[in-house]
């Protein structure tokens, strides 16, 4: 491949980590900033603090008020977003590469000098309430969130948008305190991919983020999950079925084996779930399974949405397919999966945004970045015996089920 990728990394004196991969064939540059300020840090009576903070930090920073902040980014041509995940406040953006330095300058002010104006706290809270209410209308999301809470427990299963009562109680001092204790350079990583000049980027980031206080975010206590099944009664056309069972986290040696097994279930049009549930039986329009990895734990999440009268059959067929998976996968299935993963990696070469996001994710999960070549090798080296041995040792036996719809379903045999 021409322009073989090069990876740069640097840790500044204050602990901030900068990662970069030049993609000189692009005209864009993209960045991801991970701040240790996710919703896992929301205090119990303040669910939504990280989410509210994400809104507040965009209401003025450095020398800009909230309008100038948005206008400056528009003039730079930045496509950006700020959101909270379980672990992080995530700032991501893509710009024409000539505007990268100035754009990072704006976001350095967001991180180091946010205004957090008390006069706008009520508006920011209203924004959060709107988001929470809109998510109530997203039935698939509601069912999946209930499942994640059941599987991971609190706080790892949380929905970052929080709860209305929690947000109502938050004071401006709490928002300021949250920024002060979590916007710390010790666990912050910035990744950049695209048409970039490494020495210049290193200088700029070092200068722009130098005021960031050092230190790390406080540790979080994790409570045990409450595994089992749950039905949420709702007068809907479809029943939403969500299942979760244990799997390997991204940092574990078994990750690619587990990923291979899930891929056979759900990647592509010839995958088992798509074929057995949709193509052969016409039971639903949407069905998928995905390996969802947190830092030190993971699960396979499976979803299907189907008309209430066919929901039981859909659940039964899905469970049968997971039970069948214990018998192993075939050589052809693995070969197809490898081509698909390799193709996806090459396609990432056309997107600075997705490359920057993967680099930051790698750093968080592994403490280093996997080059695309390394991922390609790991996938290529995967053998049928590897995947089948993994499935023998880790059969999908126990599973949490959440359904949302007009009627509860009978949980099939084999699912506790």
């Amino acid at each position: 491949m021409e322009n073989a990728p090069v990876l740069f990394e640097h840790r500044f004196d204050n602990g901030l980590v900068l990662l970069a991969e030049p993609m000189p064939w692009l005209r864009s540059a993209a960045f991801t900033v991970l701040l240790p300020a996710g919703c896992q840090y929301d205090p119990p009576s303040r669910f939504g603090l990280a989410s509210l903070t994400c809104d507040m930090i965009q209401r003025g920073c450095g020398s800009r008020d909230n309008r100038t902040f948005i206008e400056d980014l528009e003039l730079l041509g930045a496509d950006y977003g700020v959101s909270a995940s379980v672990y992080h406040t995530v700032i991501g953006g893509t710009v024409p590469h000539t505007q990268l330095g100035e754009t990072l300058g704006v976001f350095a002010d967001v991180v180091c000098q946010p205004w957090l104006p008390s006069a706008q706290l009520d508006d920011a809270k209203m924004v959060c309430y709107q988001e929470i209410r809109s998510l109530e209308d997203d039935l698939a999301h509601r069912a999946m969130h209930a499942l994640r809470m059941r599987y991971y427990g609190d706080p790892l299963g949380r929905n970052s948008s929080g709860q209305i009562e929690g947000i109502e109680a938050i004071t401006i001092d709490e928002v300021r305190g949250f920024c002060g204790s979590h916007f710390r350079s010790g666990q912050t990583v910035i990744s950049v991919a695209g048409n970039i000049d490494w020495p210049r980027l290193q200088d700029e980031v070092g200068r722009l983020f130098a005021p960031m206080p050092s230190g790390e975010a406080p540790a979080v206590a994790v409570s045990p999950p409450s595994h089992g099944s749950e039905h949420i009664s709702y007068d809907s056309q479809q029943t939403h079925i969500c299942l979760a069972y244990p799997s390997a986290a991204y940092r574990e040696p078994n990750y690619f084996r587990a990923r291979g097994a899930v891929g056979v279930m759900s990647d592509g049009l010839s995958s088992r779930l798509f074929y057995e549930v949709r193509e052969k039986r016409g039971l639903c329009y949407t069905v998928f399974a995905t390996l969802h990895s947190l830092r030190d734990r993971a699960c396979v999440l499976c979803y299907a949405g189907t008309g209430a009268d066919r929901a039981q059959e859909t659940l039964d067929v899905i469970v049968q397919q997971f039970q069948r998976l214990r018998e192993g996968i075939t050589h052809d299935e693995l070969t197809r999966l490898k081509v698909q993963i390799r193709s996806g990696l090459v396609m990432q070469q056309e997107s600075s945004r997705s490359r920057a996001a993967s680099m930051a994710g790698d750093w968080f999960h592994l403490g280093r970045v996997r080059s695309m070549d390394e991922v390609s090798r790991l996938v290529n080296d995967l053998s049928i015996d590897d995947v089948n041995e993994y499935l023998r040792d880790h059969p999908p036996l126990t599973c949490d089920v959440v359904t949302l719809g007009p009627r509860p379903l009978e949980i099939p045999n084999g699912v506790p």
Binding site: M1, W25, R27, S28, I70, E71, E74, L75, L76, G77, D79, T94, P96, D123, M126, V127, C128, Y129, Q130, E131, R133, S134, E136, D137, D138, L139, Y234, D235, S236, Q237, Q238, G268, L269, S270, S271, F274, Y275, R278, E279, K280, R281, G282, L283, C284, Y285, G305, G307, T335, R336, V339, Q340, I341, R342, S343, G344, V346, M347, Q349, E350, S352
Partner: protein
């Protein structure tokens, strides 16, 4: 980068924006047919046919089709709109010929009766899925109210009864009429070998026989009015507002896109500052829809039910002030900067360029490289933007609201 085009004797168009610097190749078969070409008696047939195309051909079973798409590691999909049906796949360049051979074969599907009945169930599930999702069929109802009996008011998915009433014969008849080579194009972008593309297309599609195509472009007579759909379970209230905009062939479409960006972009627009920043709405946005012969501007709102009446009044106030006072130069400059950058970033992906090239073909427009599109936006003047607001009144509209409210009135 180089643009190449060719036409087979049977009328099939082949277009490609070839760029050896891309790592991937994107291919699409574009068919100028969609819901507007159906008529109520076969409502939903275009979209149903899009699904049936993947169910196999005289040379392949459905399973073989899916296997082959996966064996090439393709990112493939299909979509149906009011006026187009597109089958597309992005692959590594080494799979160009087998992918073209497969896509072309799919365009002559078997349409077997047993597959038809199984797939009908999937389509019904898709309709039920959208019935559960905001705005709960509101888009289809708003289009129907706005366009009346004009074909653009026809629902893309159809309804459960219309889909259940479809027969394999009616689908085959529609297929013969619309999937004619002179109504189709093979479009490619990225790392593409164009000479090979022509050779493969000739081999796979050269024997297709063209049909006489009827013209179905009659002028729309948009209607205005206010409609309320009650959905008691919904937490939020949703509003869709449709008013006239430039048609696909109208050069004013660039100015109109700038107007919707200035007034209704998701960030930094007038709607943003009035509704999103203060938390009065979860969504407040505007978009352009361009069809042959007509176009429309759509405004959408999603907010708490109790805020909806006030928000409708505020929306009307903003529209009237835009009409009276026009747009400021600073707003235009910001919108241009935003759009030009979006075009540049999007153009890096072969797949996006394929949709750009194909989109122009669908609308009978000439090819435009992305830099020229960006330039056309940059060249728009303040007068042209303000003229849009005078020519296309935002307040002459169809408004539809869906949600728990049982009473709501249009601001006047």
């Amino acid at each position: 980068m180089e643009f190449r085009s060719h036409r087979l004797d049977n009328g099939l168009s082949i277009l490609a924006e070839c760029n050896k610097r891309n790592y991937t190749s994107a291919f699409g078969i574009f068919v100028r047919t969609g819901a507007r070409d159906e008529g109520p008696e076969i409502g939903g047939v275009s979209h149903f046919l899009e699904h049936m195309v993947f169910k196999g051909t005289p040379r392949r079973t459905a399973e073989q089709v899916n296997l082959q798409l996966d064996e090439m590691g393709s990112h493939s999909n299909a979509r149906t709109s009011e006026d187009s049906t597109i089958y597309h796949a992005a692959v590594l360049p080494e799979f160009q010929s087998p992918m073209i051979e497969l896509l072309c074969d799919l365009m002559r599907p078997s349409l077997r009766e047993s597959d038809f009945e199984t797939e009908k169930k999937v389509i019904v599930e898709e309709i039920l899925m959208y019935d559960d999702q905001p705005p709960y069929g509101g888009y289809e109802r708003a289009m129907a109210e706005y366009f009346g009996d004009h074909p653009l008011g026809q629902s893309i998915l159809g309804t459960v009864p219309s889909v259940e009433g479809l027969t394999p014969e009616s689908m085959r008849e529609y297929f013969r009429r619309r999937y004619s080579p002179n109504n189709m194009a093979i479009v490619a972008a990225g790392n593409v070998d164009f000479d090979q593309l022509i050779a493969d297309a000739e081999r796979c599609c050269g024997a297709w026989r063209p049909q006489e195509l009827g013209k179905n472009i009659r002028p729309a007579a948009p209607r205005t009015g206010f409609h309320l759909m009650v959905k008691p379970q919904s937490a939020q209230q949703y509003v869709l507002q449709l008013s006239a905009g430039p048609a696909a062939e109208d050069p004013q479409r660039f100015a109109a896109r700038l107007v919707t960006t200035i007034l209704g972009d998701e960030s930094g627009s007038r709607l943003y500052w009035s509704f999103i920043d203060p938390g009065r709405a979860e969504t407040a946005a505007m978009g352009n829809y361009e069809f042959e012969g007509t176009g429309l501007l759509m405004t959408v709102l999603c907010c708490a039910p109790e805020q909806t009446q006030d928000n409708l009044i505020e929306l009307r106030r903003l529209q009237e002030s835009a009409f009276r006072e026009g747009i400021k130069q600073r707003e235009l400059d910001l919108a241009k900067s935003k759009i030009v950058s979006e075009i540049l970033i999007a153009s890096e992906r072969a797949e996006n360029r394929m949709f750009g090239v194909g989109g122009n073909w669908l609308k009978h427009r000439p090819y435009l490289p992305s830099d020229e599109v960006a330039q056309l936006f940059s060249d728009v003047t303040l007068d042209e933007v303000n003229h849009i607001l005078k020519q296309f009144s935002l307040t002459d509209c169809t408004t539809l609201s869906v949600g728990p409210l049982t009473q709501l009135s249009m601001a006047s």
